[in-house]
Structure formats: structure tokens, C-alpha cells
Symmetry: none
Subunit: 402 residues, 2 copies
Amino acid sequence: MADFALIKDLVEKNTTKIVLVVMDGLGGLPRQPGGRTELEEAYTPNMDRLAAEGICGLHEPIGPGITPGSGPSHLALFGYDPIRYEIGRGVLEAVGIDFPLTPQDLAARGNFCTIDAAGNVVDRRAGRIPTEVNEKLSARLQAEVRIPGVEVFVRPVREHRFVLVLRGEGLDPALSETDPQVVGKPPLPVRPLRPEAARTADLVNQFIEQARRILADSHPANMVLLRGFAKYPNLPQMGDVFGVRAAAIAAYPMYRGLAKLVGMTALPAGSTLEDEFAALERGWPDYDFFYLHVKKTDSSGEDGNFEQKVHIIEEVDRLIPRLVALKPDVVVITGDHSTPAVLKGHSWHPVPILLWARTCRPDLADSFGERACMKGSLGRFPAVDIMPLALAHALRLAKFGA
Amino acid sequence: MADFALIKDLVEKNTTKIVLVVMDGLGGLPRQPGGRTELEEAYTPNMDRLAAEGICGLHEPIGPGITPGSGPSHLALFGYDPIRYEIGRGVLEAVGIDFPLTPQDLAARGNFCTIDAAGNVVDRRAGRIPTEVNEKLSARLQAEVRIPGVEVFVRPVREHRFVLVLRGEGLDPALSETDPQVVGKPPLPVRPLRPEAARTADLVNQFIEQARRILADSHPANMVLLRGFAKYPNLPQMGDVFGVRAAAIAAYPMYRGLAKLVGMTALPAGSTLEDEFAALERGWPDYDFFYLHVKKTDSSGEDGNFEQKVHIIEEVDRLIPRLVALKPDVVVITGDHSTPAVLKGHSWHPVPILLWARTCRPDLADSFGERACMKGSLGRFPAVDIMPLALAHALRLAKFGA
């Protein structure tokens, strides 16, 4: 129900520990009608045991029929109403490279692109230039662009992608994007989407024109495209709302960034699954709540690689005993959304979830899979309910009313 | 959904009768992983038959993960949004002893306590003085306390507990409590929790100082502690919203009091389960809606007495044929929250419910128990939906829209 005022009133602190394992894009679909999903196909004896002892269900990150992006679906898992607390892509990208955003900042995703002599886009990604080239060009923009009234930050991400941050008073993110989405057309100027954004549009257009001039001799990366304009979201912090010291373990920058926006500490996570579980073990004494993110379930789903997704799920399962050995009080294992390999992309299908704790009432789910979860006592429910449930099973919520 | 405006528009009156049996704290947990809950353990052939013929599910009084107090959980069962309509403990206590509260009244729970010569609390419950002593001391306070500008009422409850009511214009319940919660410290003065409550705080502090003087020679009950300050809540009345003449049958004062706040008539209920079912039979011709409350399921859960809770449930089951013999149109049997004996207290676990009526569509629940209810067609759902469902099955709700 995502009622922060209520939850905040009820929260009590204790020494319990909660672990939220997010296998990105976990939910799947069978390859043949009536067949098994990726999770059902995977051999997962450790998660099956947790599912049998705990409670299961299928959560909906945003709502019935809504396919979530990673930002809103993670916010929902963290207990935040994903429609109320929208996070723009520019902000996600900025925090994902550890850029220290402030409340004054407006961030955008940038692409280096190639334009021809007529000024039309001929490659929206500038041939995916090497990250080292990006770094040099970003540094040059950083050094040479000057816009009166705002500080400008240009930071490389990887390949053709960079982040633009404008810092100043009264910046308004209601701006149109400059990517024409097709080749053969010129980059669009930024337009204000409401009158109050007129000044900000003008500032961004100044950036674009200066960038065009500065990059003129840098073919193929001789122009920029900007999209995903967003202001820093002043999100309630998990420590304040839920009373937990929260740590994030995620190999991919965007998920660390997202976790930091809600007040988690990003632990050094390495790059492999084993690294992530080792980070969990190292961080164990110092936090109450751990978010551990597995990226490759989603990427293999996006690639349409059913077998690979099955394989990643099995890899995670083999590491679950290391988590169990830490003696957590509450374990939640789920995804942030479905990414069925047969659809090669995110989907709206509800996401299987298991919640294990000593205080679980037995239900009818006896293994971890989409169909098994349909028999679970959690039913089909909104993802924002997961955090209050986890806190309750950690005995961290006091009684409401007398 | 607790949309009173909608329901009120649709309500129609007829001659059907609805019975809501509330076994307080009904929901449970098994003693061993995978074992049976109290309700699953109990032999309940009569309720099992109603469950098999009716529809089942698990309701959440407040929301996922939220452990309810008895006040809000009952409001939810009666169809009232328990977060919008909060009732303070002082008010509950006052109506529970049949004190005729008016909209001008501010009520508080009082304890007689023992203080030493230095003024520090040495026993927060004054050795649980006999109720007769309480009655004398309350009468003495009633006779001697004088506070300009307000009427003062002091009424005994039982043992060391009494109710204080101030009646006057502009009283504000935003007051701190006086109970220091530990012995060895003096009672706290009342502080206003917002500026508008300053005058009320002053009036209550006058009561406290006069009580201190009046009780000085009444050791061990030589001082008072006050908490749960609350104003009379002007709740919509069940007759107006739901179009029913509603009767409450409850041996315990607090539940009668709560029912009266929503406009029910409290029938003389005796003190045993048999007395309550006899009251139901006597009241049958005169009302449309009956709320019958069973307290001891909760008390045995609070005591951690699994077997006793099983026994009480079985006792209720043996009386169900008397209810069925009255030929009710709709029977709802549930709890107001879970009180698993293994947790010795209220919990957040969803509460099993059966709804029996001739208009029920068959579902997959074939007996009355937590796991059986998970197979029921009601699923996991908010308790405020129970009243509209009961009214619908009593054919008391007209079509919405043309």
C-alpha cells in the first residue's frame, strides 16, 4: 500500500537481517504452449526448499498489464510507489557512474552521433566509438563549453554514451528530446514542454550549439543527442522510512545508482556472481538490509537466450547456501520484472517471488517457479507490499492501533 | 474499497439477515514448520461444511505486513477504512463501560498507581487493587475534583483501571501521556503535542494535581496515570451507510463499545459462549445484522496456549448449528486479526474467512483453515471489502449504473 507515514510510525529497530535477491527479469514464458518457463526449467533445489518453507506469490511491479522499466520496478521492490516517485533516465545514468548529483541538478543521457555536411544524423551512435575516444571528447566538452548562469558537467559513460548535468537555480526537466530517432534528419532542438521550462530549454540549446562547434572536427563523433532530462529526485531515504541500514550489492552501475538514490550504501561488488555473494558476506555485520542484484538473467532474456537464462538461475541457486549460512531472518528472492526469452524484452507478466522467514505460515507452493507461486499465499499482489511484508517477518513493525 | 458514498447509493433494504461471527485473533501458525495451525488442528465439522458450501479467503485488516490492534481491525470488519477512522484507546475504554460519550468529550484511560514519598512511581498498577476499592476511589475523585470550565467524569473499569472524561468546548486530544512506563520515576505532566492543545493540557494537569491531593491517604492507590487521550469520533453509522439494523453480541466491554460507536445496539450478552448464542436467538426478530464476538481465541493465543485456542474454536463450532437453525441469509465467520499462539501476540498474518450464502459460487476451499482458505475464491483481500460482499450476498446492493 506504500503508506510511508503509516510504516514510519510503526517501524521498530532490532538486530534482524533481511536479504532481497533480485534476479533481473526473472519472470519468463515457456517456449512451447504449456511448457516450462526459464525458472521452472532451472534445477534450483536450494530456492525450492526456501519456497516450500516460506510463502510465495507473483508480484506486479507497477500494475496489471504494465511492462516496467528497471527504474520504476526497482523502486517498487524497495517499497516506493513507482508512479509517484518517477526517476528520469538522465538521473539514473548519472548516479550509475557515481556522479555526485545535488538537488539543483538537471541530468540528461547523451549520445555522441554522426552528422553529415547537411547536418542530418547518419549514425545515432557514432559507430559506437571506443570508450577511450568518448573520454577524450567528454573532457573536451567539459573544458570548452561555457553557459552563463549554470555549471556544466560532461561525463563519459561507455562507448558513445555520456551524461550531461546542468547545475543551477530553477532548472526545469520538462523538455523534449533531441534524438530524431531516425537517420537522415537533423537533431531536433530542445523545446520546453511547459512555459516554465523555456529558460532551461534555451540553456540546453546553448550546450548543443557549442557542442556542434567543438565537435565539428571529431568525425564520426561530431554531434550530440540528448534525452531523458530529469531533475534529482529527493526520495525519502530507506533508513528514515524503514529504519534499516541498507546496503546494495550490484555489479552494474545503474542499479547501484538507483539504490543510492533511496539511501543505500553501495558495497564494492566485483563483477561476478561469486564476487557479489562474497560482498554480501563481507558486509554482513554492518547492515540490516541487503539488496543483491543479478543482471544476467535479464540480459540473457533480452538476447532471447532461454538456455542461458536457465543457466544463470542455476548459478544463483548454487550460491544460495552461502546466503543461508549467514542465518538471515528474512530472505526474499524475486525479479524486478519479467524478461521472457521468447519475447526478447521486458514484459508485464507478474514476477515470481518467495519470502522465507521463521514466521511464515505454510502455504501450498512447494517449489520456486511461476506455476508453483500461483499456489502461494501471497497471491498476485503489488510489489510495493514486499517491503512491509519483509519488515513484518523481521518483527520490525509494531502494532497499529490499540 | 470502503467507498461509503457508493455503497450508500446502492443499498436497498429487505428482510434478509446477516451474521458476522468474529473469533478474536483467529489466524494462527503451526508449532512446527509445515505443521497445522490452531484452526487447522481444531475439529470443526460445522464450519467446514459452511466453508465447503460457501466461499473462503484470507483478509488483511489494515494492509500487508501490518499487525492490527483490536480497534482498527474491528472497524475494518465493519466496513470502515481503519486508517481514516482511527479511534483512540480512551474512547474505546469509555464506551466499553457504557459511558454515554458526547461529541464534546475527551476521554483517557486511567490507572491508579502507587507513588513513594519522593513522588516516584513504585507500582504502575497499584498492586492491581480490587475493583471495589477502585469504585470507591473513583467515586471520591468524581465527588471532589473541580475544574473550572469543564465537566469531569471519573468511572471505574476494573482492578486499577478507570476512565477519565472531560466534557467541554474546544478540548484537544493531542496530549502526551503521564505514565513514565518504568518505576522509580515520577508521573509525567501532560504536555500539549500542538499549540492548540495547551488549554486542554492545563485542564488535565489540574485534574492530576487534585487527584494527587485527594488520593494522598489511599495507599497503594495514591496517584493516577493517564494515557490514550482521544476525542469522541463521529463515525458514520451502519444504519445510514449500510441500511441495516445492527446488533452487537459481545461479552467484553470494549467490543460492545466499538460496536456502539458505529451505531450497533449492544444486546445483553452474558459471559459464556452459550449466553452469546442465546442472545443471538433472542435478538433474531429485531435486527438485520448481527456481530457476535468471541474473545477467548485471542486470549489463549496471547497466552501462548495452542491447545486452549484449538479448544475454544471447537466450542464455537459446536454452537454453529444453533446459528444455522435461525436460517440466516449470510454467515461470515472470521477473526479480527491473527494471534498465533507461537507468537503470543497479535500478528500481521492474513485472517481466514468463510462467507456462506445461497448465492455463493462454489470454490476450491473444502474446509475452514488457513491452507484451505488459500484455495478459496476470495483470495487475499482487504477486510473492508467484507461488508459490501455480505450485503451483496444478502441481495441488499442494487446495480451500479445502467
